[in-house]
């Protein structure tokens, strides 16, 4: 975690001596790179469990309303979804290269790569907004009359689209959080709090971005491709 300027927080490396007089370095909580990395991985596991539970809900109803799900899936816009997949793929690359640049000492290049990632994230959100607008105009959106029971859609379709908006919405929320984190990271780099020697924040945000990508790797085929083979007029 971050250092504090206050003197009493400053970490003084400590040595423990065993009975044979051998010295052992004591790990303190300050500046613990591996600890911070482990902590962030554990946090990501909670995300995995959270999305895992949603996928489970989805699969539960996929089992119950099989045909409805395939039909509903075939109505989604695979072109826009595909564009977003590729956009996210490239953003993962820029993020990774940014971290590489940071670790090799090229702070300026790293900042440029983070900006590129932010830009790609914004493109992703823009495409998402366009897609949702199209859905809305076709009467598919949370809370619309057509999305209630008895509004012309079967239970399975309502459930499918409901989960679609919930999960892509939550994923989009993670993208927005990611943009915020990257802006914060840029601020920390500018104030020299993050540097090639102390890059744990950059490292963890890169991990976060990969996780966001990872979730999309499953969200995309589950929603868009499941019904891709179904012939739809």
């Amino acid at each position: 975690m971050a250092h504090d300027s206050h003197d009493s927080h400053e970490y003084v490396p400590e040595i423990a001596v065993d009975r044979n007089g051998k010295e052992h370095v004591v790990q303190g909580w300050q500046g613990d790179f591996d600890g911070a990395k482990l902590g962030f991985w554990l946090f990501m596991l909670t995300e995995v469990l959270m999305f895992g539970a949603m996928f489970m809900t989805l699969t539960y109803y996929f089992t119950l309303h099989h045909a409805d799900f395939i039909h509903a899936s075939s109505e989604l816009d695979r072109t826009l979804g595909g564009i977003n997949t590729v956009v996210l793929l490239f953003s993962a690359l820029t993020m990774g290269l940014g971290l590489l640049k940071m670790r090799s000492g090229d702070v300026k290049g790293a900042k440029l790569m983070i900006w590129a990632t932010i830009l790609l994230a914004l493109v992703f959100l823009g495409v998402k907004a366009l897609e949702w607008t199209n859905d809305y105009n076709e009467g598919i959106f949370l809370g619309l009359e057509t999305m209630q029971a008895g509004g012309g859609k079967s239970f399975g379709e309502i459930l499918f689209f409901g989960m679609y908006f919930t999960m892509t919405g939550l994923h989009g929320f993670h993208i927005i959080i990611g943009i915020g984190l990257m802006l914060w990271l840029l601020k920390r780099i500018n104030s020299k709090k993050v540097s090639p020697e102390h890059h744990i924040l950059h490292f963890n945000i890169a991990l976060y971005w990969d996780l966001v990508h990872l979730i999309w790797v499953f969200v995309f085929p589950y929603f868009y491709m499941t019904g891709a083979g179904a012939i739809h007029g």
Partner: protein, 558 residues
């Protein structure tokens, strides 16, 4: 006199002069633990008050003091506060914070600022949970509350259709869940990274093992319930139909998702409590613990198997038969590691030099009450007797024997055990023992009759009952009166001890683990003077005396 952590502290930011702000902004794990304890026990008494109200109402059949709707809100309030505000954060947040870093020789937890943030997240969650208590109106001259009336489980579809304020309670449970996740994360990293040199996993005190297993449950089960509550909220406002059968949803799925978390949460409560037991038994038997490895690994086993048994909560709500048999079978497995622990504790006491101080009394009392609670649980999990016993007072008695008679009793044991460590003062032993006996007797009078009433068919959560159950309800009522009296008396004794108890030495119990080797009592801000090198097992006794001794620089001198 050296400075203790009561005199100075590190803050999350800034250097406030006022004592109050220093407490509010503190990142010291000991202070945060104490603040958790204060807040938690405040809410504990709120929930006790709700329970006592229900006991008054149930003294006789028919309506006396409150109407049926208020009764529903009372048991919801009792459940929500006890489960989400008190017992789930409970021992990890209090003793995990205060004692665990001391036991492994760390200066603090791995992320002290996150710890501070988590505490305030918990406070926010508490406030949101109770905000709807103040949302009441006056109709026909009487108060009408708007608190949720769903029970603490929020079962769909009722929770989706009720007019009461179930939203705030759901949001609160979500926030409290996040606080719980972050606590677990912090402890996991702390235990992995900050152990004193030489202390491998099998040299850790068993309380740390309990916290470790608990932290895994907090981390990996809580997100599931978090997202379930979010889905319930979305369902309530957008009518997606995830859990409402009228819209194609399956309410049993809600129960699956809910219990995937909430059943492991039961082990989340009991594992650190077992850890406290494993500390107290060797310290007051003056004997090395029997089967250290089996106790440590059975904690891990309970946590692991605990993930796989949630389905036994769904026996009465419609599962496929194959799933029923599987869950019944898996549930029996939990009893095995639990049994191993109990035999280990009893074997530790065998030929030990038992000292019957207050913490030991609480531990021994728990062996009795938890054995009843645990074994009655096996009867409920059995396919065959399950339908007859579930959703009756038998189940109520079972989990109060396990939760109150197990977790909370051991929580009290821990309070009496670590009290001199935290405050550097001692309570009155005689009075504390008296409080234990009053509580123990009251406890059994309160809950044992419910086993019988439930077996005869008294359903849980009912506002009214048939006259033949009256005798059981009345015995319970008098038990409750004794119990609450004992509770108030116990806290009176503790507060008296805190104010004007006798000062103690750093190791009043002759215990062996690292938290008793601090330079002063109460401990200084950054704990041990120096970090020791750990090349010994946690509970080494020889002829009733601790083996390991340190000089003032934490070098071994034995």
């Amino acid at each position: 006199m050296s400075k203790s952590y009561f005199d100075e502290t590190h803050c999350a930011f800034g250097h406030p002069k006022s004592t109050f702000m220093q407490w509010m902004l503190t990142i010291d794990h000991k202070r945060i633990g104490i603040m958790y304890a204060v807040v938690m026990f405040t809410f504990f008494f709120v929930a006790v008050a709700a329970a006592l109200t229900m006991r008054f109402e149930l003294f006789a059949p028919g309506q006396q003091f409150i109407d049926a709707h208020t009764f529903n809100q009372a048991f919801t309030l009792h459940g929500v506060v006890m489960v989400f505000l008190f017992i789930i954060p409970g021992i990890p947040a209090v003793f995990g914070n205060i004692v665990m870093p001391l036991m492994i020789g760390a200066k603090d937890v791995s992320f002290p600022r996150l710890n501070w943030f988590t505490f305030w997240l918990y406070i926010v969650g508490c406030l949101v949970a109770l905000s709807s208590l103040f949302n009441f109106s006056i109709a026909d001259g009487s108060l009408v509350f708007n608190f949720a009336d769903t029970g603490w489980t929020f079962y769909a579809p009722y929770s989706l259709n009720t007019d009461t304020n179930v939203v705030t309670t759901l949001v609160a449970a979500f926030i409290l869940g996040m606080a719980s996740i972050l606590t677990g994360l912090n402890f996991l990293v702390t235990i992995h990274r900050l152990r004193a040199p030489g202390m491998d996993f099998f040299k850790m005190p068993l309380f740390v093992w309990g916290i470790y297993a608990t932290a895994w449950i907090q981390l990996l089960a809580t997100p599931v319930v978090g997202i379930t509550l979010v889905l319930a909220l979305l369902e309530k406002y957008f009518g997606i139909g995830i859990f409402d059968p009228a819209k194609g949803g399956d309410p049993v799925l809600f129960q699956h998702l809910f219990w995937i978390y909430s059943h492991p949460a039961v082990y989340l409560m009991i594992l650190p409590a077992f850890g406290i037991m494993s500390e107290i038994i060797p310290a007051f038997s003056r004997r090395e613990i029997f089967g250290y490895r089996t106790i440590a690994l059975s904690s891990a086993a309970i946590a692991g198997v605990g993930y796989l048994v949630w389905g036994h909560h769904l026996f009465t709500s419609g599962m496929s038969d194959i799933a029923k048999v599987m869950f019944s079978f898996l549930t029996f497995f939990v009893a095995i590691p639990t049994g191993i622990k109990f035999y280990d504790w009893i074997a530790t006491m065998y030929k030990g030099k038992i000292v019957l101080d207050t913490p030991m009394l609480w531990a021994l009392g728990t062996i009795i009450t938890f054995a009843i609670g645990g074994l009655s649980g096996v009867t409920i999990a059995m396919v065959g007797s399950d339908i007859h016993l579930q959703d009756t007072y038998y189940t109520i008695a079972h989990f109060h024997y396990a939760m109150l008679g197990g977790v909370v009793f051991l929580f009290f044991a821990g309070i009496h055990y670590w009290f001199p460590l935290v405050f550097g003062k001692m309570y009155s032993e005689v009075q504390a023992k008296l409080a234990f006996y009053v509580l123990f007797i009251g406890f059994n009078f309160l809950w044992f009759p419910m086993f019988i009433a439930g077996y005869l068919g008294m359903p849980r959560r009912y506002f009214d009952y048939l006259p033949e159950f009256q005798i059981y309800h009345q015995i319970s009522f008098w038990g409750a009166i004794i119990f609450v009296t004992g509770l108030i008396y116990m806290f009176y004794v503790l507060i008296q001890g805190m104010r004007n108890g006798k000062p103690t030495t750093p190791n009043p119990w002759n215990a062996t683990t690292l938290e008793w080797h601090l330079p002063s009592s109460p401990p200084p801000l950054e704990n041990h003077t120096k970090v020791p090198y750990v090349d010994f097992r946690p509970y080494e006794y020889h002829h009733g005396q601790p083996v390991v001794k340190f000089d003032e620089n934490m070098k071994r001198i034995d």
